[in-house]
Chain length 339, copies 2
C-alpha cells in the first residue's frame, strides 16, 4: 500500500524519488564525498523537491546526541546594574548556531546549584552544559565531572586550581589594572577601591588588580579600600565614608552597581563626576552607557568568551578528547565622562 505523504518527508521518501536506497540519501546528507557526483546531484534534487529535512528525534536516538547545549538561567537581579548575562547568552546562541548547536535554557533554585542539571543529563536531553554561576567556588563542576557530564565553565575553578575541566574566564585583575592605570595617567594619585566582601573570589581578584597597580606606582592603598555588598546603597555609603576619611580623587569599583552608588554620593555633595572626582565601574552595563555623564567601565569581552566556550565544547564533543586547561581573556576599558 502506497504511503500517503501526510507528514514531513522522510529519508525513504527521498530515496524512492531519487531511485536510490535510504542509506545513499543519508550519505548524501552526511558524507557527500562518498557518492558519485551524478548520484549526489540526483539525490540533492530530490531533497530539494520534497523539502526534506532530517528528523531530529530519529537522528538523536540513533546517534545518541542531541546537539543541544544546556544553559542554566540564574535568577534575574533587579536593582543592580548587572545585565551582562544577556550579552553573553546572545553571543553564545549565535556562536553555537555556527557550530551546529542550539542552546537549551533551564532553571533551578539558586539554593541548589545542581538542580535541573540531573534531569537533562540523564534523559539525554543535552550533549553538554555551559556552567556560568561559579561565583562562590563551583560545586557544579565537581558534581558534573563525577557524573561524567560534558561541560565548559565560564569562570575559573577558584577553589580547586587542580581542576581539569575546560574553562574560560575574564581576567578581572587585568581589568581593574587597566582602570587604575588609566586613572594614574590622568594624574590621580589617591585612588580608592570599593569592592565586594572577602568571600567573593571574583571580588578579591578584581581588587588585586587595583592594589598591585597602585603599589607598582609607589602609591599607597592604606585606608583606601572598602568591601561591601553589591548594592547601590552600599556603594553610596562606602564612598561617603572614604571621601571623608581618605580623601581620594578617584574610585575604582568592582561593579557598575557600586559605581552608581558613588555617583549618588557625588551628586549629594555637589561634586561632578569626571571633573571633581573620577569614577570607574565594572561590566559596562547599559546603566554605565546611558547615565550622565557616562560611566567609565571595564568591559568584559563576553562575545569572545562565548566563542572560546563553544570552541572548547567542540573539542569535547568532537573527536579529539582534548583537556585544554583554560582560557583567560583580557577585558577592555570603555572610557566615558566619569573619568
Amino acid at each position: 500500500m502506497a504511503k500517503l505523504p501526510t507528514g514531513a518527508p522522510t529519508l525513504a521518501d527521498v530515496a524512492e524519488r531519487a531511485g536510490v536506497s535510504r542509506q545513499t540519501v543519508s550519505n548524501a546528507v552526511n558524507n557527500p564525498d562518498l557518492l558519485r557526483p551524478d548520484t549526489l546531484a540526483r539525490v540533492q534534487d530530490a531533497i530539494e523537491d520534497l523539502g526534506y529535512v532530517p528528523n531530529r528525534a530519529a537522528r538523536n536516538l540513533r546517534t545518541r546526541a542531541s546537539h543541544l547545549v544546556g544553559l542554566r538561567m540564574n535568577p534575574a537581579q533587579e536593582f543592580t546594574a548587572n545585565a551582562a548575562m544577556d550579552r553573553f547568552t546572545h553571543s553564545l546562541v549565535e556562536t553555537s548556531r555556527e557550530a551546529g548547536y542550539h542552546v537549551l535554557l533551564f532553571s533551578g533554585e539558586p539554593q541548589d546549584p545542581v538542580a535541573g542539571y540531573d534531569d537533562l543529563l540523564r534523559s539525554t536531553a543535552v550533549d553538554a552544559f555551559v556552567v556560568t554561576d561559579t561565583y562562590l567556588g563551583n560545586p557544579q563542576a565537581a558534581w558534573l565531572r563525577e557524573r561524567r557530564a560534558t561541560f565548559v565553565a565560564f569562570g575559573r575553578p577558584w577553589d580547586d586550581p587542580g581542576a581539569t575541566h575546560p574553562w574560560v574566564d575574564v581576567d578581572g585583575a587585568a581589568g581593574t589594572e587597566i582602570a587604575t592605570r588609566h586613572l594614574i595617567e590622568r594624574g590621580h594619585d589617591r585612588i580608592a577601591w570599593i569592592g565586594w566582601r572577602k568571600d567573593s573570589w571574583i571580588g578579591e581578584d578584581r581588587r588585586a588588580g587595583w592594589s598591585r597597580t597602585l603599589k607598582a606606582h609607589g602609591l599607597s592603598t592604606t585606608g583606601m579600600a572598602s568591601r561591601v555588598e553589591d548594592t547601590v546603597h552600599s556603594g553610596r555609603e562606602a564612598s561617603a565614608v572614604l571621601l571623608d576619611e581618605a580623601r581620594p580623587s578617584a574610585f575604582v569599583c568592582a561593579s557598575d552597581t557600586l559605581a552608581m552608588g558613588v555617583l549618588h554620593t557625588l551628586a549629594e555633595r555637589g561634586l561632578h563626576p569626571g571633573r571633581d572626582i573620577a569614577v570607574v565601574g565594572f561590566d559596562d552595563s547599559q546603566v554605565a552607557q546611558v547615565v550622565q555623564p557616562g560611566l567609565t567601565s571595564v568591559r568584559q569581552p563576553l562575545e569572545l568568551v562565548a566563542v572560546e566556550v563553544v570552541k572548547a565544547l567542540e573539542g569535547l564533543l568532537g573527536a579529539p578528547p582534548v583537556t585544554n586547561e583554560g582560557v583567560m581573556l583580557t577585558p577592555t576599558l570603555a572610557v566615558r565622562g566619569s573619568s
Copy 2:
C-alpha cells in the same frame, strides 16, 4: 547473551528487574492509574533502584513531540535601557518548566524575521514558538500560520486585527494613562510626551494613553508631543526643544532610554528631576532603578505575560484546540524620585 548495562538503563532493564513487560513500565511512568497498586509499587522500586529516566530522543521520535519551545533571541541593544527581555525570558523558562517544557534559544538576522524558524520547524526540533519581535507588524505570524506551526505571540497583531492566533500583550496605553494620571494628581497640568516615530504601533499605542488622559482632564496636547528615535541623544534634544517652546512641568516618555535623555537635559540646565520637572519612563529597566533620584517608570508585568503565554501554549499543544483570541494585561507604575 546478557546485555551489559553500559549506558543508561532502559525500559527493558526496568521491566526485567521488576518482572513485568516494557509496556507495563511505560504505563507506570505515563499512566500510573492503569496499574494495580502492588504492580505499580514494584515497578517504581525498580525505577528507583536503577535510576531510570526515560530517553528523550526515543520518546520524541515515537510521540512526535519534543517538549521544547523555540524562542528567538533578538539582537541585544546596547546604549539603550531596554533589558526587559531578560526578565521575560527568565519567567518564561520558569513557567515552561512547570508545564513540562524547556526553552530553546535560537537566533537570526534582524533583517529576516523568519530566519531560523524554518529549520527548527521542519526538523521537528520544537513543538511551538514564542514570537516576541512584533514591533513593526509581525510577518512571522502570517508565515508561521501558513506553515501550520504552533505559536503564541507576545505582542498583539497590530497590522491584522482579524488574526486568529493566540497572543498576549501589555496594554501600553493603559500604562501611559496611569503615568499621566499620576502626574495630574501631583498637580501637573502641562505634561509633554516624547515617543517614537509614527511607524511604531507600540509607540502610537503608548502615546494614545497620554493624549486621551490629558483630553479627559481638559488639558491640551497641542505642541506637547515629540516623536523621535529611541536613543538617549534624541530624548535629550527633544526635551530641550519642548522645554523651550512648550514649557511643560512634566514628561511622559515611551521608554526609559528617552527618559534618560530628559534627565540629561535637566542636569544641563540645573533643573532637578522630581522637584522642578517630573519625568516618567517606560519599562522599569535597571537604569530606572539605579539612576538618581530614581526614575518613575511604567512596569510591564512580564512575569504574568510569560504565565499567560505558557497557558496559551498548553492550550494549543494539549487536547482542546482552543482559539483564544488574546490576553491583554495592564502594567503598573513604579514610582520613584523623578516624579
